[in-house]
């Protein structure tokens, strides 16, 4: 196995993370005005602002500020919230599980919808079910995520009364309550993700189904379900896994929006709150962790692809 590729991808991921730290660090440098003044308010005295500037390290050269900031980040110290004075690392780590749970549940919901629809569409191209799947897919791509969230709340909470419209219970406290609060947000993100995945699964399956080994399998007299499961799906899976992996990045964008709509205490909500409150250190920490998550997922997808398909040489 060619491990040169693995080393190359690890180095590239490291480079991207370093680049991300630079972009995130620049947020505080680029805001108009003095961040120390912004954090203390207009009424603060000059002495207080000067002291805050020293505490935040803003009196030192930019390069020194950056190296100190990166070193602290590497040690898990993301600074203190400009608004509450709490540790940003603690705030981010407190919110991270909700975002990860929502993302995981959304992927599961998305796959539960996309796999059957995509496979059936490919097995019966241009059939009524294929046309319906195509229309649903187009609708899913065009519907704004926050609007779909509102519509699902109107249907499942206000009209049917079967699910809570918003709120959150930690999974460690009550699993049932956690799940009931997570179903609607995960369904929203999952349906949007499924609308894109269905198209990819359909086209990947269509391509595999046209191969000669599928014709051979059918000629051998194998049942259609065996042909699909053992021969077609297994070969299409390599493409599908890659696409789903890449979709996770897009899904994280949707998750940010959905957390805000459903008032879930995740990283997305934290980002918006920090923007609205002009809490720049909190913004830096939460944005950095989200970008780190994307980089790790992309790296994982590349590695998975590499290990799934030994025929591919890099």
């Amino acid at each position: 196995m060619n491990y040169r590729f693995v080393v190359q991808r690890l180095l590239f991921a490291g480079f991207v993370v370093l680049g991300v730290t630079f972009v995130v660090f620049m947020i505080i440098q680029l805001i108009p005005g003095d961040p120390a003044r912004v954090s203390l308010g207009l009424q603060a005295t000059e002495e207080l602002v000067a002291q805050r500037r020293i505490n935040m390290g803003l009196d030192r050269p930019v390069l020194e500020q950056y190296t100190t900031w990166v070193t602290n980040m590497a040690q898990g110290d993301m600074g203190r919230s400009m608004l509450t004075g709490q540790s940003v690392s603690a705030m981010v780590m407190q919110r991270l599980p909700t975002t990860l749970q929502l993302t995981g549940l959304s992927i599961i919901f998305g796959m539960l919808v996309a796999f059957p629809l995509g496979i059936i569409s490919a097995m019966r191209p241009n059939s009524p079910i294929d046309v319906i799947a195509s229309i649903l897919s187009q609708l899913g791509i065009a519907v704004p995520d926050f609007w779909m969230a509102i519509l699902l709340v109107l249907l499942f909470s206000s009209t049917l009364g079967v699910l809570p419209p918003s709120g959150y219970t930690p999974i460690s406290e009550d699993f049932g309550d956690w799940l009931s609060h997570m179903i609607l947000p995960a369904l929203t993100a999952g349906l949007i993700s499924a609308s894109i995945q269905t198209r990819f699964i359909r086209s990947a399956m269509l391509e595999v189904l046209s191969q000669t080994y599928i014709r051979t399998a059918r000629a051998k007299g194998l049942r259609e379900s065996v042909v699909i499961r053992r021969h077609a799906l297994r070969n299409a899976l390599i493409t599908i896994v890659t696409i789903i992996g890449l979709q996770v990045t897009a899904l994280l964008s949707a998750v940010v929006v959905i957390e805000i709509v459903f008032n879930l205490p995740g990283l997305g909500r934290l980002v918006l709150d920090s923007v609205l409150d002009r809490d720049y250190t909190l913004l830096q920490g939460s944005v950095f962790v989200m970008a780190l998550l994307v980089t790790i997922i992309n790296l994982g997808v590349d590695m998975l692809y590499f290990f799934l398909d030994p025929r591919i040489e890099y």
Binding site: V23, A142, F146, I150, M290, T295
Partner: protein
């Protein structure tokens, strides 16, 4: 010689009339039903954006509490909101915001991204690496998150939302332009230009740029739909269009608490966003199939 001339004339009479590439594209596009549907939807959107403020039956921001929460009727075809404002008039004004944000943001992304992509694809390896690795870093951020971070620096408002959305989509255009340049620069006509002593800027502008336009045009159409969605999301969060101005995302955000009692407040702005996004997606699909029939 005379015989030769006659046969040439006969040949030219028998040959189909010469058409330009763009005439071929238009002919293929006119037969693309989904693309034409997209063009129709976008046509309606653009006309609404242009003449909406003149044709709107009511002043979009005028409050009238005695008319609050009126259901759709002949007087108010799409009903009224919690402040008694006519929803149809506000949607017509909102079309202008969506089109303006889409056009400005995507123009920014397309122009900067295409130039960067062309430089990366045509320039030396160090230029390519510097530009594309920077783009990789920007792509590590979820799109809406990067837009939120940029809005934190620039501040609230629809103009800043346009810039934020534009910056977010620069890497996508840069990647597309770069890969198109890499394939075009291997063509013989480029080598011929180099052999004739043409300068780099001349080659990039006169020979490469016209030949990478197809994927850029397709991406422009698809990005317009994303820009409309992004603006709606930013306005929904209170960062884009500011009250009392009407935008579709803003309308959904303001009416959120009243959807239970007056569902029309939450339905029509969402439908407007959905159709606009579908229109640009269909148009993009049609353009992709027409510009390069082999690209399907």
């Amino acid at each position: 010689m005379a015989t030769m001339q006659i046969s040439n004339n006969q040949m030219s009479n028998n040959m189909p009339p010469r058409r330009s590439l763009w005439q071929d594209v238009m002919q293929r596009f006119s037969k693309h039903r989904v693309g034409m549907l997209g063009a129709f939807i976008i046509g309606v959107l653009v006309i609404t954006a242009l003449v909406g403020p003149i044709l709107a039956p009511y002043e979009p921001n005028k409050m009238n509490f005695s008319s609050a929460f009126l259901a759709p009727s002949l007087k108010h075809p799409l009903g009224t909101d919690d402040f008694g404002r006519d929803i149809l008039s506000r949607i017509m004004h909102g079309a202008g915001v969506s089109v303006r944000v889409g056009v400005v943001a995507v123009s920014l992304a397309a122009s900067v991204g295409t130039v960067l992509g062309m430089l990366a694809g045509y320039g030396r390896r160090i230029v390519d690496e510097a530009i594309m690795r920077s783009m990789d870093i920007l792509l590590a951020f979820p799109t809406i998150l990067l837009a939120l971070a940029i809005m934190a620096i620039l501040g609230k408002g629809v103009n800043n939302a346009m810039i934020a959305i534009g910056i977010v989509y620069i890497p996508i255009f840069a990647r597309i332009a770069r890969s198109a340049v890499l394939s075009v620069k291997q063509e013989e006509f480029i080598m011929a230009s180099v052999a004739l002593g043409a300068g780099d800027i001349h080659i990039l502008w006169r020979h490469i740029f016209p030949n990478i336009l197809a994927p850029i045009i397709v991406e422009t159409s698809l990005s317009l739909s994303f820009a409309i969605l992004a603006e709606a999301a930013l306005s929904f969060f209170g960062l884009g269009t500011q009250p009392p101005d009407a935008s579709w995302g803003r309308m959904l955000s303001e009416g959120r608490d009243f959807f239970n009692q007056s569902i029309w407040i939450g339905i029509f702005p969402g439908v407007a966003i959905m159709f606009s996004v579908m229109g640009f997606n269909f148009l993009g699909d049609g353009l992709r199939d027409s510009l390069d029939p082999g690209m399907k």
